[in-house]
Amino acid sequence: MSERPSEESTGVDSASANSSEADGCEGCEAAKGGGRRGFLFAAGTTLLTVGGGLAAVPIVGVAIGPAEAGDPNRWISLGKATDFKIGETVLVKFTNPWDSPTDGDTNENVCYVRCIDHATFQVFAVTCAHLGCPVEWFAQSRLFMCPCHGGVYYEDGARASGPPPRGLYEYVWRVEDGSFEILGGRLPGLQEST
């Protein structure tokens, strides 16, 4: 780099014609070399990287934020435990423990509560363990049927037939001071432990 490229070499047309750059691009030369141009190039690269990194914090943060928000599950009361009729399975509405102003109806949710006795329950998600369609309870045949691909479950949630790989998802429940509560908030899925 004894002979610095002339200023005109920055022009697009003359750049390739400049003999001093025949062995490399101008940027590479500048990056390798010292002096003012090398410094500017290094400073530019650094500033852009730092700026990009800083900008990425809110961008990536908002994009993946929902996955990093921690456990959304909360205890949700479904009423008095003794209000459930023994031997019946019923569809019960509840409200998601988290919400935003734009949720509308999606803030509501439902689950099936099977009351075996007033101290023993099973709470099933309505979403089929196959691909999440809503299963329907038929009290007469004591079966849950899925309208999508024909999955069927017994009244205890066990898989009866069709494509589902497992039984219905179950919510964890408890009876606190006579109030029947489930741990809900997250859409159940195959990778949940319940």
């Binding site: 309505v126 038929f138 309208p147």
Partner: protein, 511 residues
């Protein structure tokens, strides 16, 4: 810019400053092969429908509210209150289908004619990327129609994403924008449908067109004129120079006729059939729905129902990327050689298999024989001839058949579910004991009713089923069609024996 008039001088000035006039001139008047005729109109038609999508889509964003609390009402408002709003939605919906169909025909033609070969490999790759983007637009568009199908369709998408090993659950939250489907989900899909995917499509279309201009429009394939990368360009250019015609107006005439007709057809369809949906409300609490995807994705719906459960996750997750990668790799697998379909039997066979498979799967998806008919047990009558002359026990069984939801999966008299076999002639296939066992223990995709029916209910049901002989079909296994063991046959007049002698009826019953 030889013309010296005002227009000529203006164009000259613009070209001097931008270079765009020369580029446009080249694009319009470059020479294309004389053989590029009606087969070549589908790409243009795809582009035209995309433009319709852009224009109608931009207008729809001025009316549609991408909030889960208001989206549905805003769609109804567009349909019912905005003058011509319904037509705008109809155009957007029908044009989406038309664009996908034109794109698929275009791709089929390119595949059939081997056009993806040298030197047009990257034109094809950009086309494959456009195909994926377009299907993404179609899927996210269904979500914008914020109804029950959209809501539960998202649930299915979420369940699929959830199956990704290790990061599935994390990824699901990113896609849904939260731990469950919510307002944030609609917002995310709105951003995809309105910004990200259309932006990608516009970029890819630009690239695709630049590549088409660079590589030149292909000739119709000719037997004995294989693609040899060493000489192809020179020969192609030579031929086009000698016999080619300018794209505009010579070749463009057909595009214009086809696109014009297609556009009028689109307007006709939209005006006649109106907009798609919205269907039932998108509420998680309304579960009496049977979610179905739009026609374009019915084959996928069928695939999800028919895949064997143990390989399902693997196939759902690995199948699509491998399929797309294979499509994109096609020109590199087969960059040279004959283009004529008659010389590429394997390609033609593969194409036939794919088209047939998609058609059959779409038809299956439409009829979805694997889905129970959820309302069959209450809404479909029992055929009169199946209850005429039956004993009280058998009649009780006929009621039991309805009441235990058997008809959700089994049809009689041609009505009911198709998941299990039709029961019209079940008595010829199973004897009394086998019927009892099948009902109590299930098996072969049937749940076991053992715990759910009392023995009296089972007995009545079997008594009824053993009268269903398909209208005098002979027994197909020993012991079939014997009524309840030890039961006195005499009180029951055989319902089908009217006009026949008692002896005949007895023979039938005893057979």
């Amino acid at each position: 810019m030889k013309s010296s008039g005002v227009i000529g001088r203006t164009l000259g000035w613009v070209d001097d400053r931008t270079g765009l006039v020369a580029v446009t001139e080249h694009a319009m008047f470059h020479k294309v092969p004389r053989s590029a005729k009606w087969w070549y109109v589908f790409g243009s038609a795809t582009l035209m429908f995309f433009i319709v999508q852009l224009v109608t889509g931009v207008l729809l964003t001025t009316l549609f509210v991408p909030s889960a609390a208001e989206a549905y009402q805003s769609l109804v408002y567009i349909d019912e209150k905005i003058p011509m709003g319904w037509m705008l939605r109809a155009l957007h919906g029908w044009s989406s289908n038309a664009m996908c169909i034109m794109m698929l025909i275009h791709m089929t033609q390119i595949f059939l004619h081997g056009t993806y070969k040298y030197p047009r490999e990257l034109t094809w790759v950009a086309g494959v990327a456009l195909c994926v983007t377009t299907l993404g637009l179609a899927f996210t568009g269904q979500i914008m129609r914020w109804d029950a199908n959209a809501y539960w369709g998202l649930g299915i998408g979420a369940a699929i994403v959830d199956r990704v090993p290790l990061i599935g659950n994390w990824l699901r939250s990113v896609v849904l924008g939260g731990p469950d489907i919510s307002g944030a989900t609609l917002s995310r899909f709105f951003a995809l449908h309105v910004f990200i995917l259309p932006g990608t499509a516009i970029g890819l279309i630009g690239l695709h067109l630049i590549l088409v201009l660079k590589g030149g429009i292909s000739e119709m394939p000719k037997v004995g004129q294989p693609v040899e990368p060493e000489t192809y360009r020179e020969e192609y250019e030579g031929r086009v120079k000698k016999t080619g015609v300018p794209f505009f107006p010579d070749a463009a005439r057909r595009d214009m006729v086809f696109c014009g007709a297609a556009l009028i057809g689109l307007i006709g369809l939209a005006a006649w059939y109106g907009p798609f949906g919205p269907g039932p409300l998108p509420s998680p609490t309304i579960i009496e729905v049977a979610p179905r995807p739009d026609g374009l994705f019915l084959w996928l719906f069928a695939v999800l129902a028919l895949l064997p459960p143990d390989t399902e996750t693997f196939l759902i997750l690995v199948g699509p990327p491998v399929g797309i990668a294979f499509l994109a790799a096609l020109p590199f697998i087969s960059p040279r050689g004959e283009r004529a379909p008659s010389r590429r039997p394997i390609s033609v066979i593969i194409l036939c298999i794919i088209v047939t498979a998609l058609a059959v799967l779409t038809w299956l998806g439409e009829t979805s024989p694997w889905s129970p008919v959820m309302k069959a047990w209450t809404s479909i009558p029992t055929p009169v001839e199946y209850v005429r002359g039956r004993s009280p026990l058998e009649l009780q069984g006929a009621i039991q058949l309805q009441y235990a939801q058997c008809r959700n999966c089994h049809s009689i008299g041609g009505e009911g579910g198709e998941r299990g076999p039709a029961l019209d002639d079940v008595a010829t296939r199973l004897n009394w004991d086998q019927l009892v066992r099948q009902i109590q223990q299930g098996g072969g995709n049937m749940p076991a009713y053992g715990k759910n029916l009392s023995s009296a209910e089972t007995e009545a049901l079997v008594a009824f089923l053993s009268t269903l002989d398909g209208g005098h079909l002979p027994a197909r296994i020993p012991g079939a069609m014997e009524r309840q063991p030890g039961r006195d046959q005499s009180p029951t007049a055989d319902p089908r024996a009217e006009g026949e002698s008692d002896a005949d009826a007895d023979t039938v019953a005893a057979r």
